[in-house]
């Protein structure tokens, strides 16, 4: 048994799957867990640049599947995190180059020697998604507080349930508290209520996510990054620690309670 295989998926593209995978990989490795991050987005390789490993690729996932190299040879060891390895996606092939059974096989070979295998799923609900989800013990669904992303997340949760991989746990990414406070963005509670699944983390909109990916050094390694802190918290929750959700919503819920209190009073007086 050994490793836990965790797939990061979303349905909609651009919500931050690769950012989440990179940051959780780094955060878990920083907690001395042995981690393999697999980029399952064949043809749109990206996890390598976010992790800063793009110049060290020799072999990729498709090379492993097609027998051009040993699994070990495709694993790139991260210099800053010696417990972290990346298996990059092939850039010049497409999703049909690998099958769900191939992914199960690769995960099986890695299970014994590592603590976590994190799989970055491509967007969509087709072959690439099925490849990424096939070996998963657990699934993390990334969404943004935005109608199209939440709708797609709901569809993914439905598909995961149908495949008996669900319901998974939710990561709400790029929350803008100032907008939530003004009533112009769905809050954490709104999204959780709509999707009815367990939430494992809320990541605030934070420019350090952009600047850190510019440098190829995920924000989870930056002690001053708010988003980095959110990712480190998710990693600890994955390890079973009881870390409360970041206080992003606190002010709002306090005001809500206050306003409820007042409206309750006025109803009593009326």
């Amino acid at each position: 048994m050994g490793a836990r295989v965790i797939t990061v998926t979303s349905g909609k593209g651009g919500v931050g799957k690769t950012t989440v995978t990179a940051n959780l990989s780094v955060a878990l490795a920083a907690l001395n867990k042995k981690v393999v991050a697999i980029d399952a987005d064949i043809g749109l390789r990206n996890l390598d640049v976010i992790l800063g490993l793009e110049n060290r690729i020799v072999y990729d996932l498709v090379d492993v599947v097609e027998g051009r190299c040993k699994l070990r040879q495709a694993m790139i060891k991260h210099k800053s995190y010696p417990d972290l390895y990346l298996i990059p996606a092939a850039q010049t092939r497409d999703k049909t180059a690998i099958s769900p059974a191939d992914m199960v096989d690769i995960a099986q070979k890695l299970r014994e020697d590592y603590d976590f295998i994190l799989i970055d799923s491509p967007a969509g609900i087709e072959r690439g998604f099925r490849n990424a989800v096939a070996p998963a013990d657990e699934v993390l669904i990334v969404t943004n507080p935005e109608v199209s992303a939440v709708r797609d997340a709901d569809r993914i949760i439905g598909l995961l349930e149908a495949e008996e991989k669900g319901p998974g746990q939710l990561i709400l990414n790029r929350l803008k508290m100032d907008l939530v406070k003004r009533g112009e963005m769905l809050s954490t509670n709104d999204v959780v209520e709509i999707l009815s699944i367990k939430i494992i983390g809320v990541v605030p909109e934070d420019e350090t996510v952009l600047t850190s990916s510019n440098k190829g050094e995920p924000a989870a390694g930056d002690p001053n990054s708010k988003a980095g802190q959110a990712f480190r918290n998710i990693a600890r929750r994955l390890l079973g620690e009881d870390v409360p959700l970041m206080a992003l919503d606190q002010e709002q819920s306090f005001l809500k309670r206050l306003s409820r209190l007042f409206s309750g009073n006025s109803a009593g007086m009326g």
């Binding site: 109608v147 709708r151 439905g158 003004r182 009533g183 409820r260 009073n265």
Partner: protein, 88 residues
């Protein structure tokens, strides 16, 4: 009062987040059922037609809705029957 507080805090009680939530909840009912609003309406009409073959329905007060409980959908039908007062 709560709207006063909302206004004092610069929050609009008709903010777009509220609209987003309502629209999402509605669209997800149909996504989850894989049934369009028109098809749902058609099904309701058929159900009522079958019941009407046996008993009279108080059509004015019929309420058929799809409720979400956690991630499960429930078809909840409140169908009052018309009592025939002329008998008895």
């Amino acid at each position: 009062m709560s709207s006063l507080i909302d206004r004092l805090l610069g929050r609009s009680s008709t903010g777009s987040a509220k609209i987003a939530k309502e629209r999402l909840q509605l669209v997800l009912v149909h996504d989850r059922l894989d049934l369009s609003p028109e098809k749902l309406k058609e099904m309701e009409e058929e159900i009522l037609a079958v019941i009407s073959k046996y008993v009279q329905i108080d059509r004015e007060n019929v309420e058929i809705t799809v409720e979400q409980r956690k991630r499960d959908s429930w078809l909840v039908a409140d169908i009052p029957l018309a009592v025939d007062d002329s008998r008895g």
